[in-house]
């Protein structure tokens, strides 16, 4: 178990990590999700002992690891750039951490065979890394991390440099590969869709802070704050400002009333958030909320269409099934089930969490 308590790190007045509190258990995949410069890599370096925080404590299985050099801790790291020993064969690359650990030849052989099998590298064992494709080279880097039986495995955007299809393949394999390892697994990504496929737990990061941490699907379905909802939305979350007044909840600057199931709200400004796939071209029930806008552009991907439109001065996008071609300037109406709406207050905290919960 890896425990971070009130960990902060600043450099030249710039805050890189801001009061990080995290408990990561062995055998679970933990994802750090956030845009570039959110602090993901810095946090991983601090976990590994490559950088020292200004404040806070880091304990592994109850013991402080602050100040323990990285080579004295059993850690495996895989980066975006695949790093392998170019002069060694695939076999020797995988075997290298075991040789360093002083295992005997028979044990090394059997471990290498096992891991090479898992990562489908068996047929390349005699080859040099530079004769492999990018995907195979990254599999090799993963194999070295896996064979080591490290206690802490750090994967920093390991699939970012791979082809889309390869990424898709490795994404669904990775959780299985590390499932039985019993290590603390940390995986950084900028892509919400990657976090969802990987499952496990996710920490949404933004500007050196952890906005929210919990099981990945829970975070996706029940963001506590506007920022987590935004970080965890691909395509981007649609938002519009609402006003709570005498007429109830209305879209700012219009008289359109939004009827949400649970409305004990104080007067003031709110933000309504809707995921693109929750905008439908068809009305499903009488309580559906209608939004109208002017189409700016339509993108069609063969199976689905992204309809971009302007709604009350905001850029919105709807993700709908099939080929739906709308022209720029056309008027379009979408319908939203009230249970699919997130409502955030003036402090950007979610206000209708319970009604969202009720849908699932």
């Amino acid at each position: 178990m890896l425990e971070l308590d009130k960990v902060s790190l600043s450099l030249d007045g710039e805050v890189f990590l801001n009061d990080i509190n995290l408990t990561l258990k062995r055998g679970e995949l933990n994802i750090l999700l956030g845009p570039t410069l959110a602090g993901k890599t810095t946090l991983m370096r601090v976990m590994a002992g490559l950088d020292k925080p200004d404040r806070g404590s880091i304990r592994f299985d109850g013991e402080s690891v602050l100040g323990v050099p990285v080579q004295e801790r059993n850690i495996a790291m895989v980066y975006q750039q695949f790093i392998n020993y170019p002069t060694l064969s695939v076999y020797e690359n995988i075997a290298s951490p075991l040789k360093v650990a002083g295992l005997d030849k028979v044990k090394i052989d059997s471990r290498v065979d096992q891991v090479a099998g898992l990562l489908r590298l068996e047929e390349f064992l005699d080859r040099k890394p530079n004769t492999l494709s990018g995907g195979q080279q990254q599999r090799l880097a993963l194999a070295r991390a896996l064979v080591k039986e490290a206690e802490l495995v750090i994967l920093d955007e390991p699939l970012a440099n791979l082809d889309y299809k390869l990424r898709e393949e490795l994404r669904s394999e990775l959780p299985k590969l590390f499932a039985e390892s019993g290590a603390v697994l940390v995986y950084a990504t900028t892509e919400p869709s990657e976090a969802l496929v990987l499952g496990g737990n996710t920490a949404c990061m933004q500007q050196g802070r952890i906005e929210q941490f919990g099981p990945t699907l829970d975070l996706y379905r029940h963001p506590e704050a506007l920022q987590s909802a935004r970080t965890f939305s691909d395509p981007p979350l649609n938002t519009v400002t609402l006003n709570k007044g005498k007429e109830g909840l209305t879209i700012s600057g219009t008289s359109q009333v939004i009827n949400l199931p649970q409305q004990q709200l104080i007067a003031g400004k709110y933000t309504m958030g809707v995921r693109p796939h929750h905008l439908s071209l068809e009305k499903c029930s009488g309580i559906d909320i209608e939004v109208n806008g002017v189409v700016t552009v339509t993108e069609m991907s063969g199976s689905e269409s992204f309809i971009h439109f302007n709604f009350n001065g905001n850029d919105w996008v709807a993700l709908v099934h099939g080929i739906q071609n709308y022209y720029s300037g056309e008027l379009v109406s979408f319908y939203i089930q009230p249970s699919n709406i997130f409502l955030f207050d003036a402090l950007d905290r979610v206000r209708n969490h319970n009604s969202v919960e009720a849908t699932k």
């Binding site: 069609m300 199976s303 992204f306």
Partner: protein, 358 residues
């Protein structure tokens, strides 16, 4: 803007060295219309960047001619071809401001200052970078620098074509959305001839009117996004496009029924396959067109469920063949599940090539 014609083009990087021809790009003929938006899509090593570099003049093809508007430009340099290019990594002058970076290609063409100013202002607005116009490029983050590169590619209105080589690969997902949509709008507005190389299907399909799918140095299919999705001409295209890609199952034909491992699927339409050789038949069906039904259909074992928020990907096995199913958000997996294929969406392949469609 120009139409682009590739006449008997082929390329091998080791031409003339030793024996045997090892084509990075196999011989092809191809015409691209003036004002079209095209994407070259394929896995790494498929030849898409080789093809782009032949069009831009960075690479001289070992065989064939390149024509812009019927004019042979094979021996012209990149500069002489009058094209704009945007690469995967930002190409900017760090010491110049954002506006000066954008003005640079126009100054090189000797345009008047007021024309340059007007055009730079337009591009700054397109990119949403008005507020940063006077900042030095050096202090900007990677996303902003790549935006400048895109802007430099778009700033000239007199180019024959604009070529993009994986321009959004290193950009954060949220900004990627914004820039991709912006490019689409720019194309609709100005109708530049645009060629866009990517390995990302979403980028290719949403950006282009026509997508050119490449595999092992050859073009395997050219089509609209809808054609590539509904009627992949080769099982490779079916698998490469879509997430997950098309399911492919070995099958036989009995009259107008398809038989998969003893399970009959009525197609309800005639299929023509050469009778002398009815071997190598495969059925292709997209996960979007497979349903799970309780106590009916082709019985399967469910091996995995991935809830990705907007939909659920169900992994199943049928006689050791993987079959993926996409369920909508909130849909449940029935007890004792069986596969039902939507008959009109079944494609039939022989030796990997499409022979019959829904």
């Amino acid at each position: 803007m120009a139409s682009i014609k590739l006449h008997e083009i082929a390329h091998c990087y080791n031409a003339g060295k030793g024996t045997g021809v090892d084509y990075a790009l196999k011989p092809l003929n191809q015409s691209w219309d003036n004002g079209g938006a095209y994407a070259l899509l394929g896995p790494s090593g498929c030849g898409k960047t080789t093809l782009l570099n032949i069009i831009s003049g960075l690479l001289r093809p070992s065989e064939g001619r390149v024509l812009f508007d019927e004019k042979d430009i094979t021996d012209l340099t990149t500069e002489q071809r009058n094209i704009a290019q945007v690469f995967q990594f930002p190409v900017v002058y760090d010491t110049l401001s954002v506006a000066k970076n954008l003005a640079f290609p126009l100054q090189n063409r000797g345009l008047a200052n007021d024309v340059i100013e007007r055009r730079v202002a337009e591009v700054l607005q397109m990119l949403g970078m008005q507020a940063k116009a006077n900042l030095k490029a050096r202090g900007l983050n990677a996303d902003d620098k790549q935006k400048i590169s895109l802007g430099r590619g778009l700033v000239r209105t007199d180019v024959e074509a604009i070529l993009f080589d994986e321009p959004l690969t290193v950009i954060d997902p949220h900004l990627k959305w914004q820039l991709r949509t912006e490019l689409k709008k720019i194309h609709q507005q100005f109708q530049h001839t645009m060629i866009y190389v990517t390995h990302d299907q979403t980028e290719a399909l949403t950006f282009a009117d026509k997508v050119i799918v490449m595999y092992e140095g050859a073009i395997v299919q050219i089509g609209t996004p809808e054609e590539l999705f509904e009627q992949p001409k080769h099982t490779f295209v079916g698998k490469f496009i879509g997430s997950p890609g098309m399911n492919v199952l070995p099958c036989e034909l009995q009259g107008s029924d398809i038989v998969v491992n003893g399970n009959k699927i009525a197609l309800g339409r005639p299929v023509s396959v050469s009778r002398e050789d009815s071997k190598g038949l495969e059925l292709g069906i997209r996960p979007e067109y497979v349903k799970l039904s309780a106590d009916s259909g082709i019985p399967v074992d469910i091996t995995g469920v991935e809830d990705v928020g907007k939909h659920i990907v169900v992994r199943s096995k049928f006689h050791n063949i993987d079959v993926n199913i996409i369920l909508r958000e909130g849909e449940d997996i029935p007890g004792n599940p069986g596969l039902i294929f939507e008959p009109s969406k079944i494609n039939l392949y022989q030796h990997s090539y499409l022979v019959g469609t829904g």
